[in-house]
């Protein structure tokens, strides 16, 4: 019993028997079809431990991310975020929790409002979540820019005036602005060229140490997962087919599907 309590409070994120089913109406025969996008998955993420989520396209990775962020309602199962079941909490409580769990998406250009300057983009989450007193906003924006390696002079620019890599830094600065404990990264570098990928990954590693962060890291690039995550889960058709230390899963896979993924690396 006491072990269980420690386990529950000790995890950042604990997912149990989580499922999400979508119903598709098939016009031709007016039949309904159920898609088991996420099918009875369970995993735990400990503080400052990052978990990679890999697997075939359509295997349910983004759906899992959206469930954990409660952007989607689960069909079944439990999502414990810092020991609280987020399926049970109301909108207001979720809003408070939202500052502890942030997201970084893939498409850098569509993720930022083109009508807002970098300065406004960074102040927005600071104001919404009341992170610092109003008179300290400017100082906080400078601190965030410095953390992600952007010169303070870039503040006055709009997203389309920055490169893809610089935009990704702004997105990361926004994500860390609320001082989250966990960041869900859905393909954070896959649209960037290799020189910028290196810069951004080095930055994410640095921030993880400095801010004691945990990542749930979705990527189809096994090299990136090897680099970023202590733990890896492999999804296939809505299920987690293999989970364990990255050094085991990615170097000595047990499951046939994981082996297939590793063999296919170009």
């Amino acid at each position: 019993m006491s072990e269980k309590v420690i386990e529950m409070t000790g995890t950042i994120l604990s997912v149990k028997n989580l499922s999400k089913h979508f119903i598709i109406k098939n016009n031709v025969f007016s039949q309904k079809k159920i898609i088991n996008a996420v099918n009875d998955i369970s995993f735990d993420i400990l503080p400052n431990e990052s978990m990679g989520l890999i697997g075939e396209s359509g295997s349910g990775k983004s759906t899992t991310a959206n469930l954990v962020l409660r952007l989607l309602e689960p069909t079944r199962g439990e999502i414990m975020l810092f020991g609280k079941n987020i399926a049970d909490i109301n909108y207001k409580e979720m809003r408070i929790l939202r500052k502890d769990i942030q997201i970084i998406f893939q498409h850098t250009f569509s993720a930022l409002d083109p009508k807002m300057t970098v300065d406004e983009l960074l102040k927005e989450p600071l104001i919404i979540h009341n992170i610092v007193p109003v008179q300290e906003l400017d100082k906080e924006v400078d601190r965030l820019l410095n953390m992600v390696g952007l010169p303070a002079g870039e503040k006055i620019k709009f997203p389309q005036q920055l490169s893809g890599g610089q935009n990704q830094r702004v997105i990361i600065a926004r994500a860390i602005a609320t001082r989250p404990k966990i960041i869900v990264c859905d393909e954070p570098v896959s649209s960037l060229d290799v020189s910028v990928q290196g810069q951004i990954l080095n930055l994410l590693i640095k921030l993880k140490e400095e801010l004691n962060l945990t990542y749930l890291f979705i990527s189809h690039d096994l090299k990136v997962v090897r680099l970023m995550c202590e733990k890896t889960a492999v999804m296939h058709e809505g299920k987690i087919v293999e989970i364990g230390k990255s050094s085991e899963v990615l170097f000595n896979p047990k499951h046939e599907y994981t082996r297939k993924l590793l063999d296919a690396e170009l």
């Binding site: 979508f22 598709i24 109406k25 098939n26 016009n27 031709v28 079809k33 890999i54 697997g55 075939e56 396209s57 359509g58 983004s62 893939q106 498409h107 250009f109 569509s110 389309q160 005036q161 920055l162 490169s163 893809g164 890599g165 610089q166 393909e187 896959s190 649209s191 960037l192 060229d193 290799v194 020189s195 910028v196 990928q197 290196g198 810069q199 990954l201 080095n202 590693i205 189809h220 690039d221 096994l222 090299k223 990136v224 680099l227 297939k260 993924l261 296919a264 690396e265 170009l266």
Partner: protein
């Protein structure tokens, strides 16, 4: 005998925002031969998407304008064609796979409807068997169900592959694919690239593949075009570029890719950032980050030099 299919010469593109013009593409040159696969690589923001979409007059929201240059295809200069004339070429003779699925797929139309509309626009016959097999070829399982789904009901990688199927079903002369494998996993990347290779052989279809993944380029491209700061900075056949890059930027890019493949403690990274179009100057775009720079590199944008059948925009070579 091989013949050139398309020849783009010194293309320049500007965007107009609030009545202010910003030149984004300062010099884009590319030749693609019949049956050839050319790769474009380069820094994020260097102009790969804008220059290749401008071949088909598809710059975002029509804010972009070709200010000079030629796009020679089939004895015509595409840069001068009207919208009506372009409609017979776009999607039929030259097809484009967008980097971002949201740009190409209509959000409120089922996938089946999108195929029907495309084929109807070009007076081609729709057959659900042909469409289903095209979807299966790009690794879409249960194609029959997918035809009845909307893009928002599909995953990132599924939408990306549906766009690929849409673009090759008309059997164009030239396929331009913008990061076609950036949201799919390794086993599907191989499947899609093998498919590209098959149709390239079977129909002698030429291709321009925009990618940031050297492994993808190595797997299917014959030749590479490297871009930086709105300019082509190097072109040449793939092996010479990979084994002996001429431009200092290409050299750094290959080092970064190598470090990602064989990392030790931390990744090799190229410090600094490329100039954005608002900061463009008449000097070498790579000047601020270059290890072999000299004062003369700041006097003008270097011209393209020929070196043993390759081209490079660097004074020091």
């Amino acid at each position: 005998m091989k013949k050139p299919l398309i020849k783009v010469k010194d293309l320049k593109v500007s965007f107009y925002n609030n009545n202010k013009a910003v030149e984004v593409i300062r010099g884009f040159d590319i030749d693609v031969w019949e049956g050839e696969i050319v790769g474009i690589l380069g820094e994020s923001g260097s102009g790969k998407t804008v220059s290749s979409t401008s071949i088909l007059h598809m710059m975002e929201k029509n804010e972009g304008i070709i200010t000079s240059g030629e796009i020679l295809y089939n004895k015509k200069d595409l840069a001068t064609l009207s919208e009506k004339q372009m409609n017979t070429i776009r999607g039929r003779k030259i097809a484009y796979v967008f980097q971002n699925p949201a740009q190409a797929l209509s959000p409120y139309k089922k996938i089946g409807r999108q195929f029907k509309n495309l084929l109807k626009n070009h007076n081609l016959k729709y057959s659900s068997a042909a469409v289903q097999s095209a979807l299966e070829e790009v690794g879409i399982k249960d194609a029959e169900t997918v035809l009845n789904m909307y893009p928002f009901q599909l995953s990132g990688g599924q939408n990306q592959r549906i766009m690929i199927a849409l673009s090759i079903i008309t059997k164009p002369d030239l396929l331009i694919a913008d990061e076609p494998t950036s949201s799919i996993d390794t086993s599907l990347i191989k499947k899609v690239l093998d498919l590209f290779r098959d149709i390239n052989k079977k129909y002698n279809m030429s291709m321009i593949i925009i990618t940031h993944d050297f492994n993808v380029a190595k797997y299917i491209c014959n030749r590479l075009v490297i871009m930086y700061g709105g300019l082509v900075v190097e072109t040449g056949d793939i092996n010479s570029i990979l084994n002996n890059p001429l431009h200092p930027y290409t050299e750094e890019l290959i080092k970064c890719a190598y470090s990602l493949d064989n990392y030790k403690d931390s990744l090799y990274s190229l410090e600094g950032a490329p100039p954005t179009p608002y900061e463009f100057k008449d000097e070498c775009p790579f000047y601020s980050r270059c290890k072999i720079r000299e004062d003369e590199c700041r006097q003008a944008i270097p011209y393209m030099k020929e070196i043993e059948g390759r081209q490079v925009r660097c004074l020091k070579r």
